[in-house]
């Protein structure tokens, strides 16, 4: 356990976070990457969240990417907030940071890099800098073989969605606001219908 904890502490995540802090502001980073205004605004939020929520494994750009992907999978709608508000990325980050199997972390690091790579291949930009339509098109593409994933990006989508969905529907927002779950409370009588 001790050994594991130390190795978790020395992940690149910490280094990168310190580097970002040195830059002074997330906006600086976004600007230096030459992103569009709306994407910059989103990224700013993402990076700021990553830094302030103390991501333990994801780098700030990775954290922002996970937040965006999770919100695309379970978005806010008129009924309830989505994955971002439910802090799904922070939960996944915490689990990966302490994961016993290094392969769990590699899967995510490689998977997120692959998403960006695929985005560059099609739109010439990393995922977060591509247009909403381009993002949707890419996610739709890697989601299409969900039942029988073949390609690495399809396997990553299954992993991504599995963790996002579990994290969202075990969150307070998922349980209480989206599903309006009424249980886990003391009832004087059982609820249900009478026989016959």
């Amino acid at each position: 356990m001790d050994k594991h904890d130390r190795s978790a502490d020395s992940t690149p995540a910490d280094m990168t976070r310190r580097d970002v802090m040195k830059l002074g502001a997330a906006a600086t980073l976004a600007a230096s990457l030459g992103v569009t205004d709306s994407a910059a605004a989103e990224m700013q939020t993402g990076v700021a969240t990553a830094a302030s929520s103390g991501a333990k494994f994801f780098t700030p750009p990775e954290y922002a990417l996970v937040e965006e992907l999770s919100e695309m999978i379970v978005p806010a709608d008129e009924h309830s907030p989505g994955a971002k508000a439910a802090k799904v990325a922070a939960h996944i980050d915490g689990r990966l940071a302490e994961a016993w199997e290094p392969a769990d972390r590699t899967t995510w690091r490689d998977g997120l890099a692959l998403v960006d790579q695929l985005s560059r291949d099609t739109s010439g930009k990393p995922f977060l800098e591509s247009s909403p339509a381009e993002r949707l098109s890419l996610l739709t593409r890697i989601a299409q073989n969900e039942q029988k994933p073949q390609k690495p990006e399809e396997h990553f989508f299954v992993e991504l969605k599995g963790r996002v969905v579990h994290a969202y529907y075990t969150s307070e927002i998922g349980i209480k606001q989206d599903l309006e779950y009424k249980g886990n409370t003391y009832l004087a009588e059982f609820v249900g219908v009478d026989l016959r």
């Binding site: 039942q147 075990t170 349980i175 599903l179 249980g183 886990n184």
Partner: protein, 599 residues
């Protein structure tokens, strides 16, 4: 709750006195051991109970009301702790923890909300290996054993089970009839509490039921539809006190807090029966029970002149030191497979094949329930409807057996029943299965979350002599004790029964008007039901059985084996209530024989 905790703290065990000869030693503290302690101590016998595991602060383990988001890992185990998966049990061979890198490896038992709540209750497989054929063997080494996490379905057997051989010619009849055990089922109902609805079925006798749970509208639809097929759906008969028990200060009545299945079945207000609060603490209050935890029974010691049991050698789980405790009677209740293991470990000059094993039947006739086939249906009227509270109850429904009652099925003998439920749960199972992503996905999950109904079968596995466990000649556990080796497989009858299970499940849902979402035809790995039975069966013939009708050894009359190992056949009904009724009956006999000086 604070008052309850204070009461529990007051029940401190007296120290075990190794110089003294106790009236009886009970090995094991689960349903059978707890009942043996209750029956003997309430009639004045001085009893020492040996439990291999710890006395846990169980409410701190179960945390029945904790929201998933208040758990640091949403119910998941800490890094380095690994619960075995179905896949591992299927594609790998025991010992399952071998070559697993994780620090601690646990058997599969867990709810959807993760295995963290059961990790201190079930054993670490690295310390408790076993060998041989595939088997998902769940062991709970702590005070109360598996009763801390059981599924709570509390059913009676009938003469369709006890006299099954007389009906179809297979195997052996039990040495008792329903009328022998009926008064003891009644006593178990009254003493521990049970919820249910009377149905007047000869093959699933009614009990003394407290307030029943209620069905969802979809379940009532299925019940009404089944009546046309001459089949029954009844609300879950739960070993849960729904009205409370005036004679038991450790247990509250059920408050339908729901989500009982998000953990592993445990209940921190102890409305669901568990052996510590239901049986052991009240037995300690008599002043006649001494409890020694962390005491791993290593051997039942035998008087070399009389061949009778004289005590138990046990290893302290923490220090590894060996001790001997003495008693006039030994009651073995360590669970079906651990009891067989201990009998086989107890070799002596008078019992060269193991204690009570002159028949060579110890470890044989091992049977259980086969699981896997089932069905999930969609109740279209429920889609998009306002949220209802459907899991505020300890269980859904039970469909008792219907095969081989009056008819004779052409392909298999014996029968199966179904357990199922419907409606909303804290975690929407359909979130995992619904394809896609985005606003449409989210709305579909929400609209459909309460609209599913599902059930799965539990079928009788025939008792066969060749299905057995023995001791591995090489492998030892952490304390140097030889481990169990499995030689056990499902047979042809089970496979054919499972095919029928899947077909009838689908048919019943279709008849009820549910849209079929999925039919599961896969048979789960041996052991999945956690209903091991039969390794020291009762019988009238000492050449083909280990125990008589009072669970008393044919070979050593002051040795009783009161757990599921005594069962002659598995039936298809869940065994816990029968284990306790039989133990009560046998221990009543034991006390009277003890008084007469016959033991």
């Amino acid at each position: 709750m604070n008052i309850l905790r204070l009461l529990l703290q007051r029940t401190q065990p007296p120290e075990v006195d190794l110089l003294r000869t106790y009236d009886a030693i009970v090995i094991g503290s689960g349903a059978a051991g707890g009942m043996a302690a209750h029956v003997m101590t309430s009639q004045g016998m001085q009893v020492l109970m040996l439990e291999a595991g710890k006395k846990l602060e169980i409410d701190k383990e179960l945390k029945s009301m904790e929201w998933p988001f208040d758990h640091p890992r949403r119910g998941g185990m800490p890094p380095g702790h690994h619960p075995l998966s179905l896949n591992e049990y299927t594609i790998r061979q025991p010992p399952y923890a071998d070559n697993v890198k994780a620090e601690k490896v646990y058997s599969y038992v867990q709810g959807w909300n993760g295995a963290d709540y059961s990790k201190n209750i079930v054993v670490n497989e690295k310390e408790h290996p076993y060998t041989g054929t595939n088997y998902a063997w769940v062991r709970a080494r702590c005070l109360g054993g598996k009763t801390n996490i059981w599924g709570r379905l509390a059913l009676r057997l009938s003469d369709y089970d006890f006299k099954a051989k007389s009906r179809d010619g297979y195997g052996d009849d039990w040495p008792i009839s329903y009328k022998d055990i009926e008064p003891y089922y009644d006593r178990v109902d009254e003493y521990l509490g049970i919820s249910g609805v009377k149905e007047n079925l000869p093959y699933l006798p009614d009990g003394h039921f407290q307030r029943p749970t209620r069905l969802t509208s979809a379940e009532l639809t299925l019940r009404n539809s089944l009546q046309k097929m001459n089949r029954i759906l009844t609300p879950y008969r739960a070993g849960v006190t729904t009205d409370g028990l005036k004679h038991n200060k450790y247990r509250s009545r059920c408050f339908g807090r729901g989500a009982c299945n998000r953990r592993v079945g445990g209940c921190d207000i102890h409305a669901a029966f568990d052996s510590p609060t239901g049986l052991i603490y009240p037995a300690m209050d008599t002043g006649n029970l001494t409890l020694r935890t962390n005491a791993i029974a290593r051997e039942i010691l035998v008087d070399k002149n009389t061949g009778k049991a004289r005590g138990v050698s046990f290893v302290d789980a923490e220090s590894g030191r060996t001790y001997e405790a003495k008693a006039q009677v030994v009651v073995l209740a360590a669970s079906t497979l651990e009891s067989a293991r201990l009998l086989l470990l107890s070799k002596s000059g008078t019992h060269p094949n193991g204690l009570g094993n002159s028949s060579n039947h110890v470890g044989h006739n091992f049977c259980e329930h086969v699981m896997g086939p089932g069905v999930t249906g969609l109740v279209k009227e429920r889609i998009g409807k306002p949220r209802t509270l459907d899991d505020g109850r300890p269980g859904g429904f039970y469909i008792p057996r219907f095969r081989n009652l009056t008819d004779k099925h052409p392909r298999f003998i014996r029968a199966y029943g179904f357990e199922g439920s419907s409606g909303t749960q804290m975690f929407p199972g359909n979130a995992t299965d619904t394809p896609g992503f985005g606003a449409g996905y989210k709305k579909t999950v929400r609209d459909y979350a309460g609209a599913f109904i599902s059930m799965g079968g539990f079928g009788e596995v025939l008792a066969r002599y060749e299905n057995q466990v023995d001791l591995d000649p090489v492998r030892r556990d952490k304390w140097g004790i030889p481990v169990v080796r499995f030689n056990y497989r499902f047979g042809d009858n089970e496979k054919k029964m499972c095919e029928d299970m899947a077909d009838t499940a689908r048919d019943m849902f279709e008849q009820a008007g549910f849209e079929i979402v999925g039919v599961d035809r896969n048979v789960l790995t041996e052991g999945w039901s956690i209903h091991e039975l039969g390794t020291a069966r009762m019988g009238n013939d000492k050449k083909t059985s280990v125990l008589n009708q009072f669970q008393q050894s044919h070979d050593a009359k002051n040795l009783f084996v009161v757990d599921g190992s005594s069962h002659v056949s598995a039936s298809c009904q869940n065994p816990t209530w029968t284990i306790m009724a039989l133990a009560w009956r046998s221990c009543d006999y034991l006390v009277s024989e003890f008084r007469k000086g016959n033991l």
